[in-house]
Structure formats: C-alpha cells, structure tokens
Amino acid sequence: MSKERKKAGKSDYMTPEDFRKDFPILGKGDYIYFDNAATSQRPTAVVDAIKDFYENSNANPLRGLYDWSVDATERYEHARQVVADFIGAASAEEIIFTRNTTESMNLVAYSYGLSNVNEGDEVVITVMEHHSNILPWQMVCREKKAKLIYLEPDEEGVITEAEYKSKITDKAKIVSIGHVSNVFGITNPVKEIAAYAHEKGATVVMDGAQAAPHIPVNVQELDADFYALSGHKLMAPMGIGVLYGKKAILENMKPFLTGGEMIEYVTREDATYAELPHKFEAGTVNAAGAVGLEAAIKYLQKVGFDFISKQEEKLTVRMMEGMKKLSYIKIYGSSDPKKHSGIVTFTMDGVHPHDISSVLNDDHVCVRAGHHCAQPLMQFIGAGSTARASVYFYNTEEEVDRFLEHLSKVRAVMGYED
C-alpha cells in the first residue's frame, strides 16, 4: 500500500460496486432502490447466517441441555454480545432483543413509563418523531394524566439549545428523542439534550432506528438511558430489533410481556422473574433473527461507517444539487446535504407525492411517498404528504443521475408544460 493510499484511508478506494454483488436483489433488473430509510436490503451473508443456523444448530435455545440447544444458545448470546459492542453498551445484559424499534419503545413506555410518570409530569419528545416514538407516549400521558411536550425544529430542521432548554423543565420525567430523523435525515443533538435532561432529573430515551445504520453509536458516550433500533434498517432480517437499557434501570423495571423463558419460579398465584436480559424476553426467542443481526452488523463493520458516510454524502450532494435545478421542487430540512444522512424529502409543485412515486415506479425507481409515519411533522411543515428518496452505501452516482433524469420528466407526464 502506498503512503498516500494509507493516508487517504481505505474508504477512498472502495466503491459501491465492491458491495453490490453481495446483494442479489440489486442485480435483478434495473431497479433503483431509494427507499433505504424504510428498510435496507440484505446481503447474502445475512441470509446465509439464517440458513446456517437452521441447518446446523436449530433448537429452542436457553433451556435445552443437549448440544444443538447449547449451540443455539451460544449463537444467540454471542449475537447479543456483538450488538452490545456495536453500540458501546457496558454489558450484554443491557441488550434486549425485540421485534423492532416500535416494540422497544412500547416496552419502555409500558414497563418504565407507566410506573414512573405521574399526574402533572411531562414527557418531552420532538415534533419530528416517528409515530413509534409518539403513540406510546400519548398512551402514557393519557393513562397518567401527564403532559406531552413537543420540541420544534427551526427552518433548517435543528432543535436549538434555546428550544430544548426552554421546554425541558423539572417536570420532565422522560425525554425521548429520535437520534436521526427519518424525514429530514438530520442528526439531533441527543448527547447535549441528554445531558440537560439528566440535570433536570429526566430519563432519556433515544430512537436510533435511523441512526444505527448510518453513524457510529455509543450509548455510554451519549449517556442514553434507553436506546432502540431495528435490525431490518441495517441489513438484518425483519423481525429482530434491540432495546438497550442501563442495567440499573432495567433491574428495577417490571417485566412487560410474560410467559416462558423469563421466569425463575411460577406458582399458581405468582412468579419471580429471571435475571437480565431474559426478564424482558418472553417466549421462544428469535435466535435465527439475532444470528442474522450479528451477520448484518459484521457486514456493516466490514463496509465501515467511514465509507458509508462518505458515499451517502457524495450521493446526497449530487442529488440535492440536481434537484435544486428543478425550480418546482422543494426540499425539506437542512440546506446542507451533509446533514441529511442520505435522506432527501421533497415535494413537487402541482404533483401529489403519490403520483410522483407511481410515475417514478414506471421507470423502476423506488421512492416513498406519504407521511413517513410522522404525521405531526407533516402538519408542522404544512405538507399533507411528501416524497422521500433515501440512499445507502450500495447506491451509486449513476443511479442518482438516472433518478434525476426520471424526476425531471415527472411534471411533463402529469400534463405540465414547464
């Protein structure tokens, strides 16, 4: 390796083509997949890991004393350790496997929220949150007669210090913030908000669904009390998610779902619960899903966050520059493409987002249209619905160019003569 090359860093010499071959679906037809914020694609390594689990160590983990079950248990718990290391948890006990971010949030809301929020207290979120980080808190506030407070971003999509310092008060019991917005793509100042919220005595929950696939996460550095993420957004199988919680907090929480695998003793009247993390994992676990998640994390680490962010940036800059040339397009969030985590949400004068998406689909371009599970944000920005193109490291500049080409023709298809 030459000196320059070493200095430049590995990621300067990698290209999406190095990875696209690992994703069979990307090689099929001429589809441009720009809905990565909804779910990512899965590399062969992930599907192979699932297959390998079922073909070599399939048994019900955690209880069996025979080889296959011991093996299944070890693979399951190994995956837990890999997740713990991936997000910088102090120990694997702090990692609870769930189905997705939504379930993780509900676990916190039901098990921690309902027990710790009282009448007159406040729960603070932002107007940018995904429904998964809104509805559970509406439930808690309704049940407990507490107040749900919304932080609002400025025109660039930023939650300013003035904003959060004026709204997080001593009454706040829980502050729950998205780490990266799935509409603006902006990274919220969760570390700063956590520090301030902790000063005020609140517990801090972070929704990492959109962050974990794109930026390195260290829950201890962020000082998150809880952190949630979904496997399917970072190339893992569907059906596996994560809730991180600080040990001291998890230990004092009631279980949420109850049943097999999460108990010590059960009598006709009562039960005592297993230790962490099992206390929160009721029923037969999704071991194959966890093993798939481990494979996805390892793949992601092989690609490296360095390359991921460089490639996303390159594509986003190109995309936003191209879109700015189309005067009838409005882009939401920051004017700086580097602050978009590969997510570009936009509207087009006179064309409903659903029509944009349908017309683009005719050209095999996959973008999302709708409220992106963030209706309060749609109401805030005054758009009933928006279109969203979101890229990942395996997307290419050539795809962006083709997307722009097709996009520039949508208004003509819709009958406008620009």
Partner: protein, 153 residues
C-alpha cells in the same frame, strides 16, 4: 402496465381541468371521504331531485388519480337515479378489484372504465375508488350526509 400512458390519456385532463370541482350552493347531500394513508381528502356534494342526481360537485385535494376519478364519476352519475348510481359504483369497484372484466358491463362506466388498469396497482386502488365509495355511502346512508358547514371541517 404503462401508468404514464394512463395519466397522459385520461387522468391529467380531469386532474388539471376538472369540470365538477368547486362548491355547490345548497347541496342536498354532502359527505367527506378520506384515505388516511394517502392524504386524499374530498367532499362530495350532490343535488338530488325526485330521486335523480341533478348535479354533483367535489372539493378537496388528493392525488391525480383520486381527483380524476371523482371528476369522471360526476360525469357519469349526473342524470342517473340514485339506485342506478349505486349500482354503477358497484360495477366500478368490481372492475378495480379485478372481479368484473366483461366489456359489456364495463361499457356502462363509459370513460371511467379507463381506470381498469388500476386493478393491477393495489397501492392506488384506494385512490381510484374514494369518490365512488363516498357517493355510495351518502346515497345508502343519507343520514350520514350532513351539510357542508358541519362535515367539511
């Protein structure tokens, strides 16, 4: 399916230059119809004289397919009896669900039959049927169809 052709040949005309869009004075029946997942949101207004639809108009916003579909529908139901209009809604929805395919039946729908290809686009079915469903609902359950001022909120 060539969706672009559909837009160019049928949808755009009704979407960009709808004939029946606007507010009707003193409608007899008014009902709001909404597709939560798309944000399509229309308010349909009918004037009914002696059981016959004398006029139909709509306001609101939505995607091109929903707007065009309701405009085409208005064309088709004006002058029909309530019963006839309800029957026609059944035909339209049957067509969109892919259950009715016979030319003869579809002829009844006239221009609205152009939306037949939507049956291959499950995600847009709701858009295409919104107007028809709202019309059917208000004729079958006139008690739900209040005045604009209360329902249009």
């Amino acid at each position: 399916m060539d969706l672009k052709g559909l837009y160019r040949e049928i949808v755009n005309e009704h979407n960009l230059r709808p004939v029946h869009k606007g507010e009707m004075e003193n409608p007899d029946l008014v009902l709001r119809g909404v597709n939560p997942s798309c944000g399509d949101d229309i308010t349909l207004q009918l004037k009914v004289v002696d059981g016959v639809i004398d006029d139909a108009m709509f306001s609101g916003s939505g995607c091109a397919i929903s707007q065009a579909s309701v405009d085409m529908m208005a064309d088709q139901i004006i002058g029909r009896s309530k019963e006839d209009a309800i029957k026609l809604a059944g035909t339209f929805m049957g067509m969109i669900k892919g259950e009715i395919k016979e030319e003869e039946q579809l002829e009844e729908l006239d221009e609205a039959a152009a939306l037949q290809d939507i049956s291959h686009m499950p995600a847009r079915v709701k858009c295409a049927v919104l107007g028809w469903k709202t019309m059917q609902e208000m004729l079958e359950h006139p008690e739900k169809a209040g005045s604009v001022s209360t329902e249009g909120e």
